[in-house]
């Protein structure tokens, strides 16, 4: 099931196929976390702790799927776990003089620690995984067919992109979220409850990040262990800055990061084992380079919510 095994028969053509497969698979957690973070940041607050939501989601989703036999129930519980962490973040940050970035770091460490603690019994057992949908029926090459096996969660993520765009730009509620994120004082003066709007945005963002985590444990790689997430939740936060707070650009960025993440294993599959760890670091380097290119010392980024603390 791993891209490494799939492409080994294709020779050099295996690299692009594996990168495509990786882009479709590895991107799903990035997509969910970045969409959630996009919503939270639009309301003027940054939640740096989504890595904790992701790992908690992965653990609780896997645990529930194993205990109940239903992976979809696992996905739901993963989302709820993320929601709880989001609610803690929002409650603490709603108080005066609290730094949202610091709370994010604290909740990241707390979420990861709690997931490792509670997840200990689920490292060995095999939970039922999420089913996949075959989109490669037209091809006779098994590798291509395997690469095009996509998960329903990925399709849900694809559907969420236009939904979130519609919500943010075409609905009254979306307008309120953006107003609160742009200028809290002005929004308060009009009479919008700034803290409640941010609470809602952070909780929904936390839910999406939790669901993104369940993809890791319930589909790909499809097991629970302590090394499951390698900072995807964190990269997704950086990815939102790169995507300039646009859901559609979040999708492109998630696919790009997915492709970068599968470069190492893909090259290993054709026998290039030199620099394996360096190729694995490709997404981090990419994140850093993208941040350097897209930041500027003099002005706020185009599209940045005015209240966002990372941009000040």
């Amino acid at each position: 099931m791993t891209p490494v095994e799939e492409v080994s028969a294709l020779g050099w053509w295996g690299v692009p196929v594996a990168v495509l497969a990786g882009a479709l698979r590895v991107s799903t957690p990035f997509l969910f976390v970045s969409l959630g973070e996009c919503l939270t940041e639009k309301s003027g607050r940054i939640n740096l702790g989504l890595e904790g939501n992701l790992v908690m989601g992965a653990m609780s989703g896997y645990g529930i799927a194993y205990l109940t036999g239903s992976p979809w129930l696992g996905v739901l519980v993963a989302g709820l776990a993320g929601m709880v962490l989001g609610a803690i973040h929002a409650t603490i940050c709603g108080r005066p003089r609290v730094n949202d970035i610091a709370v994010g770091i604290a909740l990241m460490l707390f979420g990861v620690g709690l997931a490792f603690f509670l997840g200990k019994p689920f490292i060995q057992p095999k939970a039922p995984l999420l089913p996949s949908i075959e989109l490669g029926w037209w091809s006779h090459i098994p590798q291509v067919r395997a690469a095009l096996e996509v998960n329903t969660l990925f399709l849900i993520g694809l559907f969420l992109v236009p939904l979130m765009m519609w919500f943010l730009t075409r609905t009254r509620w979306g307008l309120i979220v953006r107003a609160v994120g742009e200028n809290a004082d002005a929004a308060r003066a009009i009479g919008y409850p700034v803290n409640s709007v941010r609470f809602g945005s952070t909780v929904v963002g936390g839910f999406l990040a939790g669901v993104g985590g369940s993809f890791l444990s319930l589909y790909y790689p499809g097991s629970w262990n302590e090394g499951l997430s390698s900072g995807q939740g964190l990269m997704a936060v950086a990815l939102v800055i790169f995507a300039r707070w646009e859901p559609l650009r979040c999708l492109y960025a998630a696919l790009l990061f997915g492709a970068a993440g599968s470069l190492g294993p893909a090259l290993q599959s054709v026998g290039i084992t030199q620099g394996y760890y360096l190729f694995n670091a490709a997404p981090y380097l990419l994140t850093l380079i993208i941040m350097i290119i897209s930041s500027s010392p003099r002005r706020a980024l185009a599209g940045a919510p005015g209240e966002l603390s990372v941009m000040k």
Partner: protein, 367 residues
């Protein structure tokens, strides 16, 4: 407003008395608020333990035993406190500028790699020279690592929190690559490791204690940097930048230079922690130096309210909690992540207690 006016009238008469009461109050507050937050986290963690069916009181007794119960556990605690002080400085120093740097783990790792490289480059030289240069190499590498983040922050506007966190992952990937490639010692089989720095180049224990020199270095660096940040013009400039960056620019402070230098110092401290881990404990670079000193260091810095002097006792306290982890596994069958949960709860509550500052004064003013 009426309150302020009344104060102004009576100020000449009660000025000295009032101001000394105020400063006493603020000292009491800086001690009281974190203590209350710590106590609340212990209660919350106790509830958590009770919920999963473990006796919280027995666990706390074990934590005390494992951390401070005997001279042996004190040694364990103090050996961990040294690197924690240094990684905490990596967060505490840039915090004076208003920056949140969380790259201590990465700076520690590159420091360790540089230390091993320096030892190899100087093989055969007298051990005093080798040890000195190993420490300098570790500090230099850490300084470059976090200094780069500071440079990017000031001259390119790159968010330092995300950048330093990403640099952590890059540092670990770099080390993983080096210990299976260029620096690999093929005679070590159980885990990919670099070559050994040589037994002669290991730094020993402080005389009379079974604790290595890392503790003394950690305390010394904390005191030095406290003096630098609190009692020099440079530290004052850093504080102005943190308070109001525009005012700092207006008064002619070279903001960019101060930012980069403070970040370099912060990175050097964490790099030194890496050098000590190599020269006093591990001897070679491998994945076993990535044990989360950097992340616990962030917590130490926040509990100490970014004060380099307060970092010392807090690092000992949290070093003690870390040291008791093994005991909790053996005696209570708790997973090794137990310490992470406790640390996480402490961190969250310390930050949640931030709005409590200033309450003491307001209470008095009202009464």
């Amino acid at each position: 407003m009426p309150e302020a006016a009344g104060e102004a009238v009576t100020a000449p008469r009660r000025g000295f008395f009032q101001s000394s009461v105020r400063s006493l109050e603020s000292v009491a507050e800086t001690l009281l608020v974190p203590t209350v937050a710590l106590a609340a986290s212990l209660v919350l963690f106790g509830v958590f333990l009770a919920l999963i069916g473990t006796d919280p009181f027995a666990v706390y007794v074990s934590i005390y035993q494992g951390a401070f119960g005997s001279w042996f556990s004190w040694q364990n605690t103090l050996a961990r406190a040294g690197p924690l002080m240094l990684t905490a400085l990596c967060t505490a120093l840039p915090a004076r500028l208003g920056l949140i740097v969380i790259g201590g783990e990465g700076a520690l790792v590159v420091g360790a790699v540089a230390t091993v490289a320096a030892a190899a480059a100087l093989a055969g030289a007298p051990s005093v020279a080798v040890i000195t240069l190993m420490m300098l190499a570790g500090m230099g590498a850490g300084a470059l690592w976090i200094g780069a983040a500071g440079w990017l922050r000031h001259y390119r506007g790159v968010n330092e929190t995300i950048a330093t966190l990403i640099l952590n992952y890059i540092a670990i990937a770099l080390m993983s690559q080096l210990v299976v490639g260029a620096m690999r010692d093929p005679t070590v089989v159980h885990r990919p490791s670099s070559w050994h720095v040589g037994e002669a180049n290991m730094i020993g224990a402080i005389p009379g204690m079974d604790v290595h020199w890392g503790l003394a270095l950690g305390v010394g660096v904390c005191v030095l940097l406290y003096i630098l940040m609190q009692h020099t013009v440079f530290g004052f400039a850093a504080q102005i930048i943190g308070g109001n960056i525009r005012a700092a620019r207006m008064s002619g402070i070279p903001v960019g230079l101060v930012t980069v230098v403070v970040c370099c110092l912060a990175g050097a401290a964490a790099g030194l922690a890496g050098a000590i881990e190599i020269a006093a404990v591990q001897g070679r670079a491998s994945s076993s130096i990535v044990v989360g000193y950097g992340y616990t260091g962030i917590l130490v810095a926040f509990v100490a309210r970014q004060n380099p002097l307060a970092v010392i006792p807090v690092a000992i306290l949290l070093g003690g909690i870390r040291a008791s982890g093994g005991l909790l596994q053996r005696w209570h069958g708790l997973p090794d992540a137990t310490v992470l949960v406790l640390q996480g709860i402490i961190f969250v509550l310390i930050l949640a207690s931030e709005p409590l500052y200033g309450r003491l004064h307001r209470l008095r003013a009202r009464g």
